[in-house]
């Protein structure tokens, strides 16, 4: 795999500063990260950047993006991310939403139902599960929550190392606080989203790990039913954190989806 040069910058969207990391060349792909934020570098990002321009903005209040006091719900985040795409000239980029970021990506698509070319949702939150429940992170520690996201717990250490720094815990806490601010009640879904999804014209790919213990697979089925141009894929030996557990498989799936649509 060729090494990728990643660059970070701060871009203002609707007057709000967002921290953006970019690398690779090709068709643009926007990564909407999780409620636990994202590590700066992931093998998944490198794999995708072999043939695509990969853009990873930190959501407002997460990672390198400061917290705007006024951001009160997930749609606010989606609209800021939309504004960012406009600033970057990437309105037609493929949206790849991971977990909580999948909810944001889905909201972004509903905000511009004819203006999104491709939508990839990986273990996406955002819909009330027809059966089962979205695991409530408020009841478990940061570490337990992330561990629950892996099919094979060895993947935790592979991604985060043997011992966790206070810095990492602080990052998770900041992320969690922001997630509570925007998604406390109802927890991690929007009741109007299932209706708005019907208007989304984007080609959509719904990906779930076969052992996702954070977001029930019933949510995948509902997304596939509501999005007019959707197909479903399941990745074996993966929990909720598919991009950290099966990075190559997920990158391949997304690349072939982009190439074929």
């Amino acid at each position: 795999m060729a090494s990728v040069e990643w660059k970070s910058s701060v871009v203002s969207a609707a007057g709000t500063d967002l921290h953006v990391t970019r690398g690779g060349e090709g068709q643009p792909v926007i990564i909407l990260h999780r409620d636990i934020g994202t590590l700066d570098r992931l093998p998944f990002y490198d794999a995708l950047a072999q043939n695509h321009e990969v853009v990873i903005p930190d959501h407002p209040g997460y990672g390198g993006s400061p917290r705007p006091e006024w951001v009160a719900n997930v749609r606010d985040i989606a609209l800021l991310q939309r504004a960012l795409l406009g600033r970057l000239g990437l309105n037609q980029a493929t949206l790849v939403g991971l977990g909580f970021g999948g909810w944001i990506a889905a909201e972004m698509a509903t905000c511009a139902p004819s203006g999104t070319s491709r939508l990839v949702l990986v273990g996406a939150m955002g819909l009330k599960p027809p059966s089962g429940e979205i695991l409530d992170q408020a009841l478990v520690s940061y570490i337990e929550y992330v561990r629950e996201g892996f099919h094979d717990v060895a993947a935790f250490e592979r991604n985060y190392g043997k011992s966790l720094s206070t810095e990492q815990l602080v990052q998770w806490d900041l992320c969690r606080e922001m997630s509570f601010r925007v998604a406390w009640k109802p927890y991690m879904y929007n009741d109007s989203l299932p209706y708005l999804l019907r208007g989304v014209q984007a080609e959509s790919l719904i990906v779930w790990g076969d052992d996702d213990r954070i977001v029930p697979a019933s949510v995948a089925a509902l997304y596939a039913e509501r999005l007019p141009h959707a197909r479903r894929e399941t990745i074996a030996n993966a929990g909720h954190l598919v991009e950290m557990e099966q990075p190559e498989a997920l990158a391949r799936l997304i690349a072939s989806f982009i190439a074929s649509t």
Partner: protein
């Protein structure tokens, strides 16, 4: 000096083994272990004890509330406050307090409190709290907005009490088309507001700026002194010099006829492994957004199970007795220890936390009798010598805002 009796109202007959099996005794411990027959008996015992405490001479009854846990059976402080308003005659009814962030309708709270104040003929002290971390989870109050909700609910309640309605409230967290409660406090301009707490710097400063007494909850003498340093500094910034009337202190205290009996019963204070709010998972005590951003680094390690609680260092029973965080003994011994606390930290309000854990009803009542009849009279004498005055004795203004408005009026 204002001297109060307090109990957590423990559900002492819950099945201990059930808690041992799961490793916690709060929030997610199933209420299938709650027996309403036992609950009915205990509620009535608590009520009898409050009435008895008044007969024995206490100045006030302190009440609080918690949720989803056997360490405290009071799920709504205003319920017992209402009962006491009816069945007692003299004692102050001191709520420490209503957890403001937990309510979605502060005006309803203002109405309830006004009713309690009127029924009790002006005996209400209306303390407010942020509520513990797990209370936010038990009642689905967003911890990330805990402090904002606390402050806004407070502002709305005080306005509902003091500004004639109807008016409209368009805040960040609360929105009321019409605020115009036809129930207003008997005490004017409004019942006293006292603010209890343990560690949070922001709350200490907030209380000082408003001119509300702060009640330190069983902190060590050393930590209590730090609280007063911070409080006094904030008060000085706000332009006044606080005194003993600004200082309250809650202490676990058990009195018996012999030292041996007192110490044996006092061990019950550590019945939940010494955890004030039951055995719990750290993440429940400190949900993200709830604690001070300035202490984030120490709290995240606690939440992750990598360090002890920054607010509640673990100590053995013997250490706590030696450090005067648990007082147990004969009336004479107890008076000597409490006098030391009074000398060192100069409170004008003291609350005595009794009847915890599995103490028998007989022990609980003996302690109340000795407290009221022997300990408190001696402490009142000490308070005179030390010049420790309660907010009532000092005729302290109910708030800085009121004091300043009053001064402006007088100047006109």
């Amino acid at each position: 000096m204002h001297l109060m009796y307090f109990t957590e109202q423990p559900m002492k007959d819950y099945p201990v083994e059930a808690g041992n099996d799961i490793g916690f005794t709060s929030l997610l411990m199933s209420n299938k272990h709650f027996d309403p027959v036992v609950g009915s008996r205990l509620y009535n015992e608590f009520l009898e004890n409050y009435v008895y405490a008044e007969e024995m001479g206490v100045d006030g009854i302190m009440l609080n509330e918690h949720h989803n846990a056997p360490f405290c059976m009071q799920a709504k402080a205003n319920v017992f406050a209402s009962l006491l308003a009816g069945v007692t005659n003299r004692v102050k009814i001191v709520l420490l307090g209503n957890p403001l962030p937990l309510t979605d309708n502060p005006v309803r709270l203002a109405e309830e409190l006004a009713m309690i104040d009127m029924v009790s003929k002006g005996r209400l002290v209306s303390g407010f709290v942020r509520g513990g971390g797990q209370e936010q989870l038990a009642t689905n109050a967003n911890p990330a907005y805990n402090r904002e909700r606390f402050q806004e609910a407070h502002d709305l309640i005080v306005k509902a009490w003091t500004v004639p309605g109807p008016f409209r409230w368009e805040g960040k967290h609360f929105h009321q088309r019409v605020v115009n409660p036809w129930a207003l406090p008997l005490q004017q301009p409004h019942p006293r507001i006292w603010i209890p707490g343990v560690i949070s710097h922001e709350t200490i400063v907030w209380a000082a700026k408003h001119g509300y007494p702060y009640i330190a909850l069983n902190t060590s003498i050393e930590d209590t002194k730090k609280i007063w340093e911070r409080y006094d500094a904030a008060a000085a910034e706000a332009g006044y010099t606080p005194g003993s009337e600004n200082r309250g202190y809650l202490i676990r205290c058990h009195v018996a006829e012999t030292e041996e009996a007192a110490l044996a019963s006092a061990r019950q204070f550590l019945w939940m492994d010494g955890e004030f709010t039951g055995r719990l998972k750290p993440v429940w005590a400190s949900p993200s957004g709830y604690f001070s951003p300035s202490s984030r680094e120490s709290f995240v390690n606690f939440v992750a199970g990598q360090s002890a609680s920054p607010s509640r260092p673990r100590k053995t029973f013997e250490q706590q007795v030696a450090d005067l965080q648990i007082i147990a003994g004969t009336p004479k011994q107890v008076v000597a220890s409490l006098r030391k606390i009074m000398q060192e930290t100069r409170p004008g309000i003291m609350a005595f936390w009794g009847n915890d854990g599995r103490m028998s009803q007989t022990d609980a009542r003996t302690s109340i009798r000795l407290l009221g009849q022997e300990v408190m009279p001696a402490l009142r004498e000490s308070a005179k010598e030390l010049d420790l005055k309660s907010p009532f004795e000092a005729n302290m203004p109910v708030s800085r805002a009121w004091a300043e408005a009053h001064r402006a009026e007088a100047a006109e």
